[in-house]
């Protein structure tokens, strides 16, 4: 992408002000798309060096893409911000912690499994209460949910792959499902099998690369993308996933390889990627289980709602499970989780989370449903901190439960 050209399409009308959750919270131009587009423009024109202050500005972004939805000129703000973060990383590198995390940890499922075990140990041995003595970590530490006994990848090993009449679909294993919410992966498998599909889990795949792209480590992200793309046989028509962010990242692989030898491979991969809710509604005859009869509200994950334009299907799934949907106000506003933003920008993130929890509370729903594990983690934390500990589900879990309850 020619960043200067893209940035120059901005008419500076300020429409982004009206929708940017960070701008609304802070009311300073650096927080809104228009300011970041400006930095991109003058940086690409060689009029300014992107140093610490610009870095701060460029990292004050949730990548929630609310601005892109209303931008009259259709500027791809997300790509500009990521492009400038890469430019800063390429010039200045990153600190040791981020380098270890992004280059040597999150991109290796086996090391992530070790990390999971460590975290589990940390939570069970009482080490966590020690960490909570550090004031700056006291609140943040609680964002992490209880670590499950077994990762989803390990569950998979112990599980038979059942052949299905409808053919094979690939299943991308997101890190959060793997480590934090294996029950979601389990639900995906159950429901797909009930629909007659054989699942090809992408065991040889790795993380989608979103953290790497988000911090400018684009070369590493490309290696990971290649690994993922090569882990699916060509004859599988759909690559399904249960994480909004992973799904949008997989669909955006062609952007990573623009103008390179792998562009076609990436396009061929990306066009087969589909969110599980969309797939279940559009391409399967979803079995009808027991009516759950619970009242839920739905949070639209930014990377499902706007990045993938999947809005109705998760709601259809909720209805199909016999649950009642009570819409919350502003269901599409970012919960403030936004990957690591919730930790790196804790206070700002909590402002958004409090609004979200307030909107959830107003519905009186007994559970929250959302199609993104990162949102789930943030919202669950928010519910505990600012409301009450009601459960948060992935839409697929509702279907799995209704099928299970009927004993199908």
């Amino acid at each position: 992408m020619n960043y200067a050209e893209e940035a120059n399409r901005c008419r500076r009308c300020g429409m982004c002000h009206a929708v940017c959750p960070l701008y609304k919270a802070e009311r300073r131009e650096q927080f809104v798309a228009r300011g970041k587009v400006r930095l991109t423009k003058i940086s690409e024109e060689g009029r300014i060096e992107l140093e610490d202050r610009a870095k701060t500005t460029l990292y004050n972004c949730l990548d929630c893409r609310a601005c892109m939805e209303v931008c009259p000129a259709g500027v791809n703000v997300s790509r500009l911000v990521k492009g400038m973060r890469k430019k800063i990383y390429d010039k200045h590198g990153d600190n040791l912690l981020m380098n270890v995390a992004l280059e040597h940890l999150t991109s290796y499922p086996k090391r992530m499994e070790l990390a999971r075990k460590f975290l589990k140990l940390y939570q069970t041995t009482g080490l966590s209460s020690l960490v909570q003595l550090v004031p700056s970590l006291k609140e943040k530490e609680k964002i992490l949910p209880a670590i499950p006994k077994r990762s989803f990848r390990n569950e998979l090993k112990a599980r038979d792959v059942r052949p299905g009449k409808k053919g094979k679909v690939a299943y991308f294993i997101s890190c959060t499902t793997d480590i934090l919410y294996p029950q979601v992966g389990e639900a995906v498998l159950e429901v797909l099998e009930a629909c007659g599909y054989e699942i090809y889990p992408m065991n040889d795949g790795t993380c989608c690369g979103v953290p790497q792209v988000g911090y400018g480590h684009v070369e590493r992200a490309k290696e990971m993308a290649l690994q993922n793309m090569r882990s699916v046989p060509d004859d599988i028509g759909y690559i399904l996933n249960d994480c909004a962010t992973c799904g949008s990242a997989l669909k955006e692989y062609p952007e990573l390889f623009e103008g390179t030898e792998h562009e076609e491979l990436a396009q061929n991969f990306a066009k087969r990627v589909m969110d599980i809710s969309e797939f279940l509604i559009k391409h399967t005859e979803l079995p009808t289980g027991e009516k759950l009869g619970i009242q839920v509200t739905y949070h639209d994950p930014c990377h499902l709602n706007r990045a993938q334009n999947v809005k109705q299907e998760p709601r259809d799934i909720i209805a199909h499970s016999g649950s009642e949907l009570i819409e919350m106000e502003n269901s599409g506003q970012c919960c403030g989780g936004a990957g690591t933003f919730g930790i790196t920008h804790f206070d700002l993130s909590q402002k958004l989370l409090k609004q979200k929890v307030g909107n959830i509370k107003a519905t009186g729903a007994e559970a929250v449903v959302t199609g993104c594990p990162a949102c789930r983690m943030q919202i669950a934390f928010g519910l505990k901190s600012y409301y009450k500990d009601i459960p948060v589900y992935h839409p697929v879990e509702l279907i799995a439960r209704s099928i299970r309850e009927k004993g199908m």
Binding site: N8, C13, G14, H17, Q30, G35, R38, I48, R53, T57
Partner: protein, 455 residues
């Protein structure tokens, strides 16, 4: 200009300030096609801080440019390079909504639309609705005496200002007006400051007039083969003692562009369409709608669409609202003008704009508030070459010449700003200009506030 000495004061008073070009460059622009890098951006949080800032600026001769959301289409927030941008967005509190006196007290950084939402919850109505209302601020609205579609029936920002607190260029704080409708005490200072584009003082608080929310609102879209028929309809509606809440005109090019991105079944071969909204008590609206429909057809409308419910109404407005996006997607830069002419001259003005744009080979789409004679020709630049900019400049010159020849004015609601300054002498006699300048010199002898804007 002694910026360093100024900054010392700012730092000593702990006022938030940014000086790094990586920050200040985010305050170097607005929605006009201009830029100017400030030497510092200050973020006062209350009137006292604004006063300290202006006192220091005046003492050290530092030029100051007040700024809200930075949505000026006239370059009204483009300051002197190296000067100070006075960012008022941190002062965004709605201090009070008084349901008994129908007033609101607000800080200048309140976003117009957020005020709308707050008062509408209470069944009240603040009518000024400039196109940028979702991001523009009340302070900015007051500076340019902003209007919008509603102003034909409900008037402009000025008609809703009951009182103000203003910080003068030397830091003195003055207040006038209050929660009363009738007030002839002293000179009408409100009229002096409203629309002065930040050249005379900085608004730090305003007392606004609210009215009850009209009970209901209905919309009609009327399509015409001939601009004059559309104009005749408008005159006929007014002659029949109906004052619609809005009378929005779209020309053929606007409809063509809107259809391209958001198909709404707008006819592409029609010369113009007007969106007419009538509001008020339900029984009266019903009656007026029937009459409006009859009048549209009588005056030659080839098609009249009446929105039967809120959903259909919303659909009709959706097209109009996507106009800006439609235009943006069909150009590399946009020059939006804002001439106002007597209502009867609107068709002449539109034809003149089209003829001029054609002569200079620049695609031009026109939106207008046909109730009040305010025309917004959008010149859609395609190349961004020096030569094309020059052509656009010449076209704009001619558009303003035409507006003045038709008995009109340079700007209806966007303000003179930087981009229309050169035309001031066309509209005003030397004596009138002298009077304006002497008022400016009295209030701001050191030319601290917006010295490059308007005058």
């Amino acid at each position: 200009m002694d910026l360093q000495a100024f900054l010392q004061v700012i730092h000593s008073k702990n006022i938030e300030v940014q000086c790094d070009p990586q920050d200040t460059s985010c305050f170097a622009y607005d929605a006009a096609n201009l830029e100017s890098l400030p030497g510092a951006v200050v973020f006062p949080k209350d009137t006292q801080e604004v006063s300290v800032i202006l006192e220091a600026a005046n003492r050290f001769k530092v030029p100051v440019t007040p700024r809200g959301a930075g949505t000026s289409l006239a370059g009204g927030t483009i300051g002197i390079p190296g000067g100070v941008a006075l960012n008022l967005t941190q002062m965004n509190q709605i201090i009070e909504i008084d349901e008994e006196n129908l007033t609101a007290i607000v800080q200048p950084g309140v976003v117009t639309y957020e005020l709308h939402q707050a008062v509408e919850k209470l069944g009240l109505f603040y009518p000024p609705d400039p196109g940028s209302m979702k991001m523009s601020t009340i302070g900015g609205n007051i500076s340019v005496n902003a209007g919008g579609p509603h102003c034909f029936k409900y008037g402009v920002t000025k008609d809703y200002i009951l009182g103000m607190e203003i910080v003068l260029a030397d830091g003195r704080i003055i207040r006038f007006g209050g929660k009363y409708i009738k007030n002839v005490s002293g000179l009408d200072l409100g009229s002096l400051f409203i629309g002065s584009e930040g050249t005379l003082g900085v608004v730090t608080e305003a007392t606004l007039r609210l009215i009850p929310m009209p009970e209901t609102k209905r919309t009609i879209l009327a399509v015409y083969n001939d601009l004059d028929e559309a104009a005749r309809t408008v005159s006929d509606i007014v002659r029949n003692k109906i004052v619609p809440a809005t009378l929005e005109l779209m020309d053929q090019e606007s409809m063509r562009l809107i259809e391209r991105i958001r198909p709404a079944n707008l006819p592409l071969d029609a010369a113009a369409a007007i969106l007419i909204a009538v509001d008020g008590p339900a029984s009266q609206v019903e009656k007026e709608m029937k009459l409006v429909e009859t009048l549209c057809l009588k005056n030659g409308a080839r098609e009249v669409r009446v929105a039967r419910d809120d959903k259909e109404q919303e659909k009709l407005w959706e097209g109009r609202r996507s106009a800006n996006g439609a235009m943006s997607q069909n150009c590399k830069a946009m020059v939006v003008e804002d001439a106002s002419v007597p209502r009867s001259k609107l068709p002449d003005m539109i034809r003149k704009c089209k003829e001029i744009a054609e002569r200079y080979h620049i695609p031009c789409a026109i939106l207008g508030h046909s109730g009040d004679g305010n025309v917004h020709p959008h010149l859609l630049l395609q190349e961004l070459t020096q030569e094309e900019w020059e052509r656009a400049d010449k076209a704009v010159d001619e558009i303003f010449r035409a507006a003045l020849d038709l008995g009109g004015t340079l700007t209806g609601e966007h303000g003179i700003g930087l981009v229309k300054k050169k035309y001031m002498n066309w509209q005003f006699s030397p004596d009138t200009m002298d009077l304006m300048r002497s008022l400016k010199n009295t209030l701001d002898p050191n030319q601290i506030l917006n010295r490059n804007i308007m005058l």
